[in-house]
Symmetry: C2
Subunit: 248 residues, 2 copies
């Protein structure tokens, strides 16, 4: 989702440096993967499965899982730098937009850190842990195409919220085999979850409203139609098949 | 040591963008700190002390120590980007030089990963774990000043080896209170160590030879004298006081 969003926004902004847009999309996906490897560690979720296979620490041990996550973070920024050969002036703003979404105090690391607190600020938690990288994907797509980034933040932030709600719905109705990772962990770990809070119908209504808000937040740009279609198409892929058909 | 080396090389190359040289030096130190926080984790050294205080995971728990290391890696690259406002074209080469020293397959993360192998290639291990960041500090100092970076790699690599040998000597003769961290861990963990291999007099001779090689490796530049003096001055600070006086 995140790299596709980045590339779609770059396209909507009149992409003129494909290597840079692809590097930005790749950097965002690599950071996401880094966060999954570290989230699965014994000191966090202690997850045995990820994408239907053994998690990194289960397959290769905890030390190599810590180091793989570290090396992926570094690789994300190296990838950006390699992709910026033709547009060096865009590298700084791109790096800042993406770095902000990964580190402290507003990025994935900060979001994960909320899980260590006795009381979680739900909105700040989800904003940092999931929303920030979606927002950065949208901003980075624009910046990689030479456009202003900030007007695109709202679109990504709404899609990030929508994705989080869809993920909670999937977690509530899907099986471990379908998702390729353990299900119903939020309940077990007493973590915030839209379905636990709103029920499935309420969560579905919230998802629809967030997608509409995302589409309404697309700034004026040369190619908004393809982007709009992609959002609706991906929204269907968000959900387990039973629910996607019901929503359509 | 590493940031001082970076700034000294920038000065020797005729530093013309102080903000960028300082950012490069800071990024290198931040990455070094990130590696210490993760190295101290229970799945690696399980070190209770660092710089005379509780290690991060002892003070704040393992989850926050993992996340603090992650956030420091991100912060290092954000720091670089913020410092490059006046010389945006230098950001890409700088980021690549520093990233290479931190990640896989030649950086700190790779060096640490060697510790997970049943047999360690001593030279590749030390090169990646310690040498790479010294080499990057030297290269980054030159690049931040607008000079070619690669001719400066040799200087940093030799100083990194010297530092590793000095660290092994310090570990052999100093007390925990002097170093602010546990001593004689390499022996306990059966890790490569110059004193275990060469004895203290042999390690001292090796240190002198490495410092001479480092000074001989300084490339032609506008200001080599200050750099040479700094290396000799710092070399004295490398060692526990008893040995520094003996060497002088």
């Amino acid at each position: 989702m995140r790299p596709r969003l980045c590339l779609a926004v770059a396209g909507a902004c009149g992409e003129d440096d494909r290597a840079l847009s692809v590097a930005a999309a790749a950097a965002i996906e690599i950071l996401h993967c880094a966060s999954l490897v570290h989230d699965d560690l014994p000191c966090f979720d202690d997850a045995p499965l990820r994408r239907g296979r053994a998690s990194v620490h289960r397959a290769f041990g905890e030390p190599l899982a810590v180091l793989a996550g570290d090396a992926l973070i570094v690789l994300a920024f190296e990838t950006l730098a390699l992709g910026a050969a033709k547009s060096p002036r865009r590298l700084g703003p791109l790096l800042r937009a993406i770095g902000q979404a990964a580190g402290m105090p507003t990025g994935i690391a900060a979001g994960q850190a909320w899980e260590c607190e006795p009381r979680i600020d739900l909105s700040e938690y989800q904003q940092a842990k999931t929303g920030s990288l979606f927002a950065a994907a949208s901003v980075a797509g624009a910046v990689s195409a030479g456009a202003e980034g900030e007007p695109w933040r709202e679109l990504g932030a709404r899609l990030g919220e929508a994705y989080q709600v869809a993920d909670d719905i999937g977690d509530a109705v899907a099986s471990e085999a379908q998702l390729g990772k353990p299900v119903r962990r939020d309940q077990a770990l007493a973590r915030p979850n839209a379905v636990l809070r709103l029920g499935i119908p309420g969560a579905m209504r919230r998802l629809e409203a967030l997608l509409a808000a995302a589409i309404a937040a697309i700034p004026p740009c040369p190619g908004p139609d393809q982007l709009r279609n992609l959002i609706l198409f991906e929204a269907d892929r968000f959900l387990p098949k039973e629910l996607a058909r019901r929503a359509a």
